[in-house]
Amino acid sequence: MPVYFLEIIVVSLGIIMLLVDAFVKLEDKRSIAWIGMLGLVVTFGLLFRVQWPESTESPFWNFYTTGDQMALYFKGIAILTTLVVLIMASDYSRIVVDQTAPPEKGAHPQSGLGEFFALPMFACAGLMLMASANHLVSIFVALETVTIAFYVMVAYLRRNVGSLEAGVKYLILGALSTGFLVYGFAWLYGMTGSMQLEEIKTALSGDNVNVIGSLFAFSLILVALAFKVGGAPFHFWIPDVYQGAPTPITAFLSVGSKAAGFIVLLRLIDPFLSSSELVGKIILAVTVIAVLTLIVGNLSALPQQNFKRLLAYSSVAHAGFLLMALACTPTASQAGEFLSPAKVIAFYLGAYLLMTLLAFLVMTTVRVQIPGEDLTSYKGLAKRSPFLAFAMIISMASLAGIPLTAGFFGKFFVFQLAVQQQQWFLLTVGLVGAGAGFYYYLKIAASMFLSEQDPKDDISAIPVGTLSRIAMIVLIALILIGGLNPALIIGLLS
């Protein structure tokens, strides 16, 4: 099966879901989500059965990478994320219905839910396309598909001012970064006369590179992509948007969008890194952003009391570690077999996906029961629902980078790269950041375990949906497996 069938399947699933929503009378529209989940599971299975084309003569392959395991890996990330997001969304549907149900009588009480489930499918397709895009045009359109889908999803709760505010903020800043991206693309195109990444690479690694112009183009592109992945100081949207968006969408943003941003960043930075005249400055720029991101993300998370904002800053912090890995790209002259930054980033993102989604799953489950997303809402959770507390603590341990969890290896590899490249300053900042991480991730553990719940409140166990429970168990298992043997995950890359 050709690889691009995957995107086609996912898009078709989305369309099918829309059609079912429109034309099939359903008691409970959550079954639409099940279609999507089932389809995504199948698609994920198919991921392992794809074939690369025999010949790449057709112009199609100008836009779509061939034989690229990394792309498949990121497609997998996109599919998994969407799957979990759908599970969360179906748990979360009560709140969606609350905020969007139509006022008129006779309408289906859950109208509006179908689109809420279908939009992630299109976003997923966009993310998958981004993973494979190797042409400025396909990068651009895929990126924008995702971005526009996210504008809608973030602002989806149209009766909720927070959601709309988040939508507006994301819209303005997203459009701004699109502007810079386009401007950067234009310059890149102007400097290299091409839009195909391979050709751009050839052009940039040639002799007569226009250094200033290329750097100008690069900085504009970097700005836009740093925005997507949440690198400081282009991260400002993240806390507000994460907080305002519906929780499943926050999870989606935090994992899917970041992963896609990184694959694009990796692809776009690669030609620049292969140019010996540019590479020094490029690394410098990435280093600076990485340092800022590490500091801002980790330190700002310390005083947070809102769990979603905390996770938002944590997402910034992890972007910092990922950028740190990128900043430690070995120069061409360095011999020896290293784990390439690309692989490290890929692994890190995989780990990040597992632990962040687990956290969001627990959070969604709790949020449905308890209004508010402050840390205080988690008081006494350990007594109330030990399983949820356990899942959360695994997730937090992994995010904090405690060994035997996947998150540890992520940081390990990053530090290893920094040591190899002797980026001592970056390493120090990374250490400070990781140290701060211990504090803010354990804050949630402290809230769950160390503080007693007000006995006046409801202290019965929080119900956990079957699907959510299965998803949590699978994620926990994967986090631990990834923490024991990261090669299993990195092996997917080759």
Binding site: I15, F63, L119, T145, I148, R158
Partner: protein
């Protein structure tokens, strides 16, 4: 030729400034249309006829109409902040000026733009117009992005529909 360039460039820039400084949203929108017209003229000066026409049709025509429509619909008035935001304007102007200055530096040092407008090779016959060539590119080589844009538009449509549903009174 150069003379025309200056006129159109001035049109575009003045239009742009008009968007920024006009307190009245409708005036701002009209200033934007002016700017787009200037841009379109510059496109045409660069022998990009189709693009120039698209600029007028899509941007000046469709998008700006949409803007004006929304402005009217929401009955947005002149910005209510009466005091001139001096500090904000200063910072803003600073950022914009710095950006332009940096651009100058880049242009100066990169020497990329020193090239004068090269003459086009003469072409003849059908299929030689830029509409032709772009169309051919779009629907042969670029069929794939086109499909993706289809998805994008679908998403946008759904989004607009969902977001604009009737609201509780």
């Amino acid at each position: 030729m150069t003379f025309l360039f200056y006129i159109f460039a001035a049109l575009a820039l003045v239009g742009g400034i008009g968007v920024v400084v006009n307190r009245n949203p409708v005036s701002a929108a009209f200033a934007m249309i002016v700017s787009f017209l200037g841009l379109a003229a510059l496109f045409i000066q660069l022998d990009a006829y189709l693009v120039g026409v698209l600029q007028i049709l899509v941007y000046a025509g469709a998008i700006m109409v949409l803007f004006i429509f929304i402005i009217m619909l929401l009955d947005v008035r002149v910005e209510e902040n009466r005091r001139f935001p001096f500090f904000g304007a200063l910072c803003t102007g600073g950022v914009a000026a710095a950006f332009a200055a940096l651009l100058l530096v880049v242009l100066n040092r990169s020497e990329v733009g020193a090239a004068t407008l090269p003459a086009l090779a003469a072409t003849e016959g059908p299929g030689s117009s830029d509409v032709h060539r772009i169309g051919e590119l779009l629907f042969s080589q670029y069929w794939f992005p086109i499909q993706v844009v289809g998805i994008l538009l679908l998403v946008a449509t759904i989004g607009v529909v969902v977001l604009s549903k009737k609201e509780l009174k």
